[in-house]
Amino acid sequence: MSNAAISLKDLDISYGDTKVVRDVSFDVATGESFALVGESGSGKSTVLKAIAGLAPDWTGEISVLGKPRGHGTDRTFSNTCQMVFQDPYASLHPRKTIDTVLSEPLAIHGIGQRSKKVVEMLSAVGLDQRFRFRFPHQLSGGQRQRVAIARALMLEPKVMLLDEPTSALDVSVQAEILNLLKRLRREQGLTYLMVTHNLPVVSFMCDRMAVMNKGRIVEIAPKTALYDGSFSDPYTLDLYAASGGNPDADPAVAAASDTKDP
């Protein structure tokens, strides 16, 4: 597929002697937002890590924006593709100011006008300039996740790998981060591959989804399948039912999600 931003073909990924992902193939179109869902341990993060060069033990084909990926880290690669992790507490260095965190990728790549770019990026992710010289522990969880997103965007990548970017956050903070991610994608023409276990988040953020179970993809479906539960794989149907399924079928859930916007 020529317009694929991410293309995976017959991908197997191992840690040591254990193969944890088998036979994964899918394409994510340029500008698309694609979800990877499934229970913990099913191999979702591992797929993202392999694309990002953090899980080097794989066979098959990975290409990003038409360029095949080699094994191991690749500096030119980070210009096009960046990853955001789940835990905004663990993913930022505790003794580096936000300014350092954001300037560093630019410095490594010998890019100038760093100060100006940091100021612009802080406002792009909705963080007040007064946070610029603070440390991560002086920020809330939501603010830290904004910093993590800002750091990933510093090199102006075209593809973002998002690993449960809002799972550790409260509902209201999640709403802010999801809005932010949606706006950035629209403004900067980004492609998203996003891991989540939350099907309503897929419904808000994504165009299509792949469902993983025990290291394999069991189904690829459009987001509209969430509207009526029109999935074909039994595992996906279980997941859908456990997630509240079709709210029309459950009065309590319908009640909770039926609120008019104030």
Binding site: P200, P247, V253, A255, P262
Partner: protein
């Protein structure tokens, strides 16, 4: 006595001493829980849900401090109970399930042994009966091969199994009140539903009251009769579960609206204004 509520709480306050003076994190909370009633406490992190749950068991540790005008459980004034009396009530008459079983289970004791110990606090039974009750309990939380699970150590079981073990341990003394604090937040969606269905099944029909603490509005609406919404240490809304969608407080409305829906059509999610209203 049976007409009286199972639990009555009036003007409950929890505060912490800080260098800048005491900070109140639960600010005059009132609640009543009927026998066999299921009450949900919902709110965002830091709203005071866990402190409320813990203070019912008088488990606030220094530098925290709790006071209450009334804290009555089954006619018993809990504020007047001594440390030893409280210890006897905990586990036997009121049980609490915490978010992460890994922190609540003893890592160096087999699961069977821990459950047996939980039962012995309450009832003295001959060894053989004890073992039978343990196996029966592990069976009722649907753990396959209970004899084998009883011999395992906590680190040998998955998160979902660990949480079932916790439930078994908390329910085996047949408490009158179960407080479950985010019992499934650490679990996968598909296992969450199984664990909550299990709690529901064990609670209903056993004359047990339930307080389910969660940050998830849909979840409490599904498993409770009544809901209290907390924000900043206060109950801002109290309603029955089916009436949650008619919520009137701006904070509750804001929380409901901020959640993505399975059939999502909105371009943007309304976000909460920290002062209580909603902005978009």
């Amino acid at each position: 006595m049976t007409d009286a509520p199972l639990l009555e709480v009036e003007d409950l306050r929890v505060s912490f001493a800080t260098p800048k003076g005491p900070v109140e994190v639960v600010k005059g909370l009132n609640l009543t829980l009927g026998r066999e009633e299921r009450l949900g406490i919902v709110g965002e992190s830091g709203s005071g849900k866990s402190m409320t749950g813990r203070s019912i068991l008088r488990l606030i540790r220094a530098p925290g401090k709790q006071t209450a005008k009334t804290l009555r459980f089954d006619g018993l004034d809990l504020m007047a109970q001594g440390t030893r009396q409280m210890r006897r009530i905990r586990g036997a008459r009121i049980s609490m399930i915490m978010q992460d079983p890994k922190f609540s289970l003893n890592p160096v004791m087999t699961i069977g042994h821990q459950i047996a110990e939980a039962l012995q606090v309450h009832e003295k039974l001959p060894r053989r009966d004890l073992q039978a009750r343990v196996i029966e309990m592990l069976n009722s939380v649907r753990l396959n091969d209970p004899e084998r699970v009883a011999k395992m150590y906590p680190h040998e079981v998955s998160g979902g199994m660990g949480q079932r073990v916790m439930i078994a341990m908390m329910l085996i003394p047949r408490p009158q009140l179960l407080i479950a604090d985010e019992p499934t937040s650490a679990l996968d969606v598909s296992i969450q539903a199984q664990v909550l269905d299990l709690i529901e099944e064990l609670v209903t029909g056993n004359g047990m009251g339930l307080i389910l603490i969660s940050h998830d509005l849909n979840l409490v609406a599904r498993y409770c009769d009544r809901i209290l919404v907390m924000n900043g240490g206060e109950v801002v809304e109290a309603c029955t579960a089916p009436d949650l969608h008619k919520a009137s407080h701006p904070y509750t409305k804001g929380l409901l609206a901020a959640q993505p829906r399975m059939q999502e059509t909105r371009d943007e999610l309304p976000v909460l204004d920290r002062s209580g209203g909603v902005r978009t």
